[in-house]
């Protein structure tokens, strides 16, 4: 048992902090919210050079052979600082390719991710917005040496700039008769429309109008697509929660600083118990979330994740982030309510992270199932 990061991890973290502080100050975050692409290609290229985009790939695919935990530490820093862009969406598509892809697929797609030339987006959920196999209505019919995909996907992050989409589509009427397709985003019949969101984070509606996909672009087995979704869910949820955990830490830190600094009735407001104890609750919950993330990430890194440990993180993260931000805003008073103040940047991302990769209900149900209920 060890709560210490390795030297390499410390270095990764401190590098990430320096990079993000320098390259992605909050002014940049605000700029990218209003940017059509929603990311900075120059910064993206630098991230590739730093080895972040292929962090967990073996070297033969252009990666640096890091662990899942390394990736989580990076996501935590990304969350602390808020880095807009397709890092998460690309990563959660690359991970299943690394796990389920055949040699051709891996050799073709992973190096492009690592060197920053490919951006990916995950297209699973539809109008109901839930991660349930039964909700997948988009269909993939067998054509002549290809599949024909038809349907609409919602809340597909960063599809507006993606070269590739990883798409869940139904191949049979069985509840779990779903396959995962690697789709060239420039294929005829793919239409992408950015959905304006509170987080201004470029989630998209992606429509597939008789889109032809080569047979070789099926990832894994045709009947086994939902297993891949489950594989993605577990990992993507932890990555998303790492981002949330970083966000919570940043919000607690700025609120604590404010409570020491802001004087009312001739005292720092942090000396009022109502404020101080609320800050303590915020801090303790953020810390607990951080450890939950680390535990699950470490287990995934070892290859033996506990389903319970993975599930409970996302069951909790949304509530913690929301409570942290709401209380932070209130402690800041009207200041916290403004566009200028950073706390609003985090608050506006609460719901995006809560509904990315399934809501708390989904994950609570998984926890309940692990309890044998």
């Amino acid at each position: 048992m060890d709560f210490k990061l390795s030297e390499d991890q410390e270095m990764l973290r401190s590098l990430a902090r320096d990079f993000l502080t320098k390259e992605c100050p909050k002014a940049k975050v605000r700029e990218l919210e209003n940017d059509e692409k929603g990311y900075d290609p120059r910064m993206w290229q630098k991230m590739a050079e730093l080895g972040w985009l292929g962090l967990v790939f073996p070297e033969n695919y252009g990666g640096t052979g890091g662990t899942f935990l390394d990736l989580v530490l990076l996501m935590e820093e990304i969350g602390k600082n808020i880095l807009p862009g397709p890092f998460f969406s690309t990563t959660v598509c690359a991970l299943p390719i690394l796990e389920y892809g055949n040699e051709w697929q891996k050799a073709k797609f992973l190096p492009q991710v690592a060197n920053g030339t490919a951006i990916w987006a995950l297209a699973v959920i539809e109008t109901l917005g839930g991660y349930k196999a039964s909700e997948i209505k988009a269909s993939a019919r067998v054509g002549d040496g290809h599949y024909i995909i038809e349907g609409t996907k919602l809340f597909v992050p960063n599809a507006n700039v993606a070269n590739h989409l990883l798409v869940a589509a139904r191949t049979s009427e069985d509840a779990e008769g779903v396959a995962m397709f690697i789709v060239d985003a420039n294929s005829a019949g793919v239409e992408v429309e950015v959905i304006p969101t509170i987080a201004q984070d470029k989630q998209c509606q992606v429509t597939f109008n008789r889109v032809e996909v080569p047979e070789g672009n099926v990832l894994g087995d045709v009947g086994g697509g939902w297993d891949i979704v489950e594989f993605i869910l577990d990992r993507a949820a932890i990555l998303k929660c790492a981002e949330v955990s970083g966000g919570c830490q940043a919000v607690v830190e700025m609120t604590n600083a404010y409570a020491k600094d802001r004087v009312q009735f001739d005292k720092p407001i942090g000396s009022f118990q109502a404020i101080q104890h609320r800050l303590v609750d915020m801090f303790v919950n953020a810390e607990g979330l951080q450890y939950l993330v680390y535990q699950a990430a470490w287990e995934i890194s070892t290859g033996f994740p506990s389903r319970l440990h993975t599930s409970l993180v996302k069951a909790k993260a949304g509530e913690v982030y929301q409570r942290t931000c709401l209380d932070a805003i209130k402690i800041h008073g009207a200041t916290g309510f403004t566009k200028e103040h950073d706390v609003g940047l985090y608050f506006r991302r609460v719901k995006a992270s809560e509904f990315a990769m399934g809501d708390s209900d989904l994950w609570e149900e998984r926890v309940a199932a692990e309890l044998g209920l």
Binding site: G130, I195, F272, L326, G333
Partner: protein, 401 residues
């Protein structure tokens, strides 16, 4: 004891419902919590406020001589509930004119001031729109700490300083302003005075302070040698603190009924939505969690309703609500925050959609409530301040700050 409203109140309720159905755009149920932000919303609000004035509702509480109807406290309460339920815009005309500049002038203004300003408000026209400038960078909850100065110079006062969080300053024709007139006063809450300032005066600069969702509610207002006629001093010089405490009480009291109306409307809309949406082949309304979240919130809404009744009843008895208005505001704010949270859960993934986009459900009101609720709970006294009031003045506990 009696829990029935009179026929007059029920008729009024019916009248407002009819008005809302007739006058409000049908595609939107207009819970305009940020009506001063977007130009089109503000335009709508001002057109409705004129109609409310014509109906005699806008300042119904005021005496007839000032454009009101001398409506009873019960009628005012019903009006507040219904305006909240239907989300009728323009009701407050930028928050302050109707709700507290008017009542304050009637309490401690002079006859000349009343004659000049009250009819402007009562008309529902743009010249009756006010903003209120109390807070400063170093005077929020600790309001007595204000630094903006007014110095007498002949028949005028010269005002210098900065205000912040001034709602509606960008729409207002007039400003209800708190300043220091005696900075050397032995206790800092002595030495405060209130002025009415023409927002067109030279030396006033209004800077927008957008909120984190780009709504333009707040402003910074700078006063640079702004000259105000001495006749615009309201009440006694250096007695502003005491006057304001009375105004604040009026404002807080007026907040409860619309909060209840908002809450009930939101819950009705959410219940309707839950019945429509199918999950796993069953309406979402069959989900036990959803049922109980909504049921719990309705219980709290009913508590708020009865709290409003109780304060209103005290007023009808000539009693001064000592703590009830603080209770109702804090309780209502918490409820609205909670409904926002519940609502976002019920909307599912759609809750993250921009409220004004074509993907939005229920016209975006849930997102708007969620995003605004922390701001609402800060306005006119934080939770902590309200709880301090209740603790000290109702429970008789010592000062805790």
């Amino acid at each position: 004891m009696d829990f029935k409203l009179g026929e007059k109140e029920e008729a009024l309720r019916k009248g407002i419902r009819e008005f809302a159905q007739k006058e409000l755009p049908s595609e939107c149920f207009c819970l305009l919590l940020e009506e001063e932000s977007r130009d089109e919303d503000w335009k709508l609000a001002m057109s409705i406020s004129k109609k409310l004035a014509q109906k005699g509702w806008l300042v119904m509480a005021w005496p007839k001589e000032y454009g009101g109807q001398g409506a009873s406290y019960w009628e005012q309460m019903v009006y507040g509930e219904e305006c909240g339920y239907w989300g009728i815009p323009g009701v407050a005309m930028g928050v302050s004119g109707v709700a507290w500049v008017g009542p304050s002038l009637m309490q401690f203004g002079n006859e000349e001031q009343r004659k000049k300003y009250l009819p402007l408000i009562a008309s529902g026209e743009a010249d009756g729109v006010w903003c209120t400038a109390y807070s400063e960078p170093n005077a929020g909850s600790d309001f007595a700490n204000i630094q903006t100065r007014a110095v007498r110079d002949g028949d005028e006062y010269v005002i210098n300083g900065q205000k912040v969080w001034t709602s509606c300053a960008h729409r207002a024709r007039w400003c209800w302003l708190a300043v220091k007139t005696d900075p050397g006063a032995p206790k800092k809450h002595r030495g405060i005075s209130i002025f009415m300032v023409d927002m067109k005066s030279p030396g006033i600069t209004v800077n927008p302070l957008l909120n984190y969702h780009d709504a333009h509610i707040f402003n910074e207002v700078f006063f640079d040698n702004v000259r105000v006629p001495a006749s615009n001093l309201v009440g006694e010089e250096n007695k502003g603190w005491y006057h304001l405490m009375q105004s604040l009480a009026s404002e807080r009291h007026s907040l409860g009924p619309p909060l209840y109306g908002n809450a009930r409307r939101l819950l009705d809309e959410l219940a309707g939505y839950a019945k429509e949406i199918q999950h796993d082949g069953k309406p979402l309304s069959q989900n036990l969690g959803v049922r109980h979240m909504l049921a719990d919130a309705v219980v709290e809404a009913e508590m708020l309703k009865l709290f409003n009744y109780q304060v209103t009843w005290e007023l009808t008895q000539g009693l001064i609500p000592i703590y009830g208005s603080s209770r109702n505001k804090a309780f209502g704010d918490q409820l609205l925050e909670r409904i926002g949270i519940i609502g976002m859960r019920i909307m599912g993934a759609y809750c993250q959609v921009d409220p004004y986009s074509k993907w939005t459900k229920l016209h975006g009101i849930i997102q708007r409530v969620y995003l605004l609720s922390p701001g609402i709970s800060i306005a006119a006294g934080t939770d902590e301040i309200e709880k301090n009031v209740i603790g000290q003045f109702k429970l008789g506990l010592p000062k805790s700050y």
